[in-house]
């Protein structure tokens, strides 16, 4: 069984992220967990991968896989990396849990020639319905925590993220919205529809300050 097949059952979104990464590139995965995405990228795309992970267990799992992973978090440790150190910096399902999402996003765009960011969509109709009709903070499959114990402190919708990207001077090169089963929504849907139907969205971005941003 390949890594991709193992992944397919649990985190299909990681496969979608992996598809955005060019072969043989240099990648930093921020919040890399047990290193499955990095291993997938290394084995199937010959990627030179590095990770940042907060949990002891995750770091130990990564080190045991032979991955290079630093124990730390997006808020505290991205500042230590030099500019343009990586072809891609990946932040998967983590931006909403950072203390300073805007600063984190700026670091991603500074450290990597491209950033790949996936965010859970707080604008999904189920979320909206729970707030509107039940008057309760939403609990869904992709946002499974109650308000009092959630690590997610900065929720955003797909539309909010697009606005933030514009604000920090980033260009979105590619984007895809996924449904609850991790399948991409049909491209004919408008962004307005994504914001209502997307369970999460994945963005490939680069900073506009780069004159030579074409192709990597």
């Amino acid at each position: 069984m390949t890594v991709a097949q193992t992944l397919a059952s649990s985190r299909v979104d990681l496969l979608r992220v992996a598809e955005l990464v060019a072969p043989a590139s240099k990648v930093l995965d921020v919040g890399c967990g047990d290193g499955e995405l990095l291993r997938l990228l290394a084995e199937e795309r010959s990627v030179d991968g590095r990770g940042v992970e907060l949990s002891q267990q995750g770091v130990n799992d990564c080190v045991a896989k032979g991955l290079s992973v630093i124990q730390g978090d997006a808020d505290a440790d991205l500042a230590d990396y030099p500019d343009d150190a990586f072809d891609y910096v990946i932040l998967s399902q983590t931006l909403q849990a950072t203390r300073q999402p805007r600063v984190v996003l700026e670091h991603l765009l500074r450290i990597g020639r491209r950033a790949i960011v996936s965010v859970p969509n707080f604008g999904h109709w189920r979320v909206r319905a729970q707030v509107a009709f039940l008057g309760r903070m939403p609990v869904t499959n992709s946002l499974p925590h109650s308000w009092y114990d959630t690590p997610n402190i900065h929720f955003c919708t797909i539309a909010d993220f697009i606005a933030l990207a514009r604000e920090v001077g980033a260009t979105i090169d590619k984007s895809v919205a996924l449904n609850a089963r991790g399948r991409p929504l049909h491209p004919v849907f408008s962004q307005w529809a994504w914001n209502l139907l997307g369970d999460q969205a994945i963005f490939l971005l680069h900073s506009k300050r780069r004159a030579d941003a074409g192709g990597c």
């Binding site: 002891q56 770091v59 896989k65 124990q71 230590d80």
Partner: protein, 390 residues
């Protein structure tokens, strides 16, 4: 000068005839030292465990700390106690002696058989004492490289060590990047902090204030500055622990008594414990050697050797690193390890960093801390796989 042999006991005797393998180099191949001195003849005392494979690709070098020695995983010849890294070295352990060839040598300036201040100075036929040249971490590593050459090993699968041992690991990686496949610096720093130099100075002054130290000539004069060395060890030992570990272990408990004695006896368990630590250290360590070891650490500043740029020390390195720190280590705090990681990242190196949660202070690297052992095993096994070692 009398019979030097009769004057030497404990550690000093090991300086002359160690219970170890030895590499002896004659006057024709002196060790060039940072101070400008040349050291010859030179003895390097070492232990090995496991077997070197045919490709000579499975060698792990362990670098010992300030008060350590080469007896990593065998009973200590003087104290009879288990090896200082018994938790890490052995069959099935991270330094798996069924798979790897594990080497540890006593550092130059040490007192367990490698040439040091208790060794005989060929010019005077007396122990060197303070005539022994000042040793640096780079000197220690240069001597180890001679041993590795002697063993016919080109590239070490991994160089590992904690504290002063970690300094040697960093020095190895900077000086011989092509000879170090993987590096595991633990609870260490690229330079000794002002606070750490200060603690060392307290220890040195304690030794020198002992009237039996005799300007470092105690072996010739037949005295033993044991009290000074014991005080130095007691002070240092506190820095290896943490407030909470000491409190958990001893609290304010009294030692073998129901009430305070209104005297300066060791009323408290923690006092009794420290006195014991001081006393047993004196049995196995040479006071002058302690001066030299502490000095070597004080002088360590890797960036200074590379034009002030730590990143320069590791630029373009292909060595894979795993840097480890412990949350309660205030002697070599996590911020020191993060500085190493930043420099390695800036140099584009492959680096992992783990901060192990424990309340056991700096000494955690010597203790049975499961997360630490798991990390180490994972890193070494992955390095072995990457190098094609079975």
């Amino acid at each position: 000068m009398g019979d030097i042999g009769a004057l030497l006991n404990g550690a000093a005797a090991q300086s002359v005839s160690p219970d170890s393998l030895t590499l002896r180099l004659g006057p024709g191949s002196p060790l060039r030292m940072d101070s400008g001195a040349s050291l010859a003849p030179l003895t390097i005392a070492y232990q090995t465990y496991g077997a070197l494979n045919a490709a000579k690709s499975n060698a792990l070098l362990i670098c010992h700390a300030l008060s350590g020695d080469q007896h990593v995983a065998n009973p200590h010849p003087l104290t009879g106690r288990p090896g200082w890294w018994d938790t890490m070295v052995g069959p099935g352990r991270p330094f798996d002696t069924d798979r790897f060839f594990v080497i540890c040598s006593n550092v130059i300036g040490g007192c367990m058989g490698s040439t040091g201040p208790a060794s005989i100075n060929p010019e005077t036929h007396e122990p060197y004492g303070l005539d022994f040249p000042i040793v640096t971490v780079a000197d220690m590593v240069r001597a180890q490289a001679l041993l590795i050459d002697h063993l016919g090993i080109d590239t070490l699968l991994c160089v590992a060590g904690g504290s002063m041992g970690g300094m040697q690991v960093l020095q190895w990686a900077a000086t011989y990047p092509d000879r170090v496949f993987a590096a595991l610096p633990i609870a260490t720093a690229t330079r000794h902090s002002s606070q750490n130099i200060a603690f060392h100075e307290v220890g040195r002054q304690a030794i020198m204030a002992d009237p039996d130290w005799r300007g470092g000539r105690y072996l010739v004069e037949g005295t033993r500055p044991g009290k000074g060395l014991a005080v130095a060890r007691m002070a240092a030992h506190i820095t290896y622990l943490s407030d909470s570990a000491l409190h958990r272990k001893f609290g304010r408990n009294l030692q073998d008594r129901a009430a305070r004695t209104f005297s300066f006896d060791a009323d408290f368990q923690v006092e009794s414990y420290l006195r014991h630590q001081g006393a047993i250290f004196v049995e196995r360590f040479d006071p002058n050697s302690y001066l030299y070891m502490t000095r070597a650490m004080d002088y360590f500043d890797l960036a200074a050797d590379y034009g002030g740029s730590l990143a320069g020390a590791f630029k373009g390195t292909r060595t894979r690193f795993c840097v480890v720190s412990f949350t309660s280590d205030w002697l070599f705090p996590t911020s020191d390890s993060r500085a190493i990681v930043r420099a390695l990242n800036a140099g584009g190196a492959s680096v992992s960093f783990v901060e192990i949660e424990t309340d056991r202070g700096h000494d955690a690297f010597l203790l049975d801390v499961p997360d630490f052992i798991d990390t180490t095993k994972g890193f070494i096994d992955a390095a072995a796989r990457a190098r094609g070692v079975d």
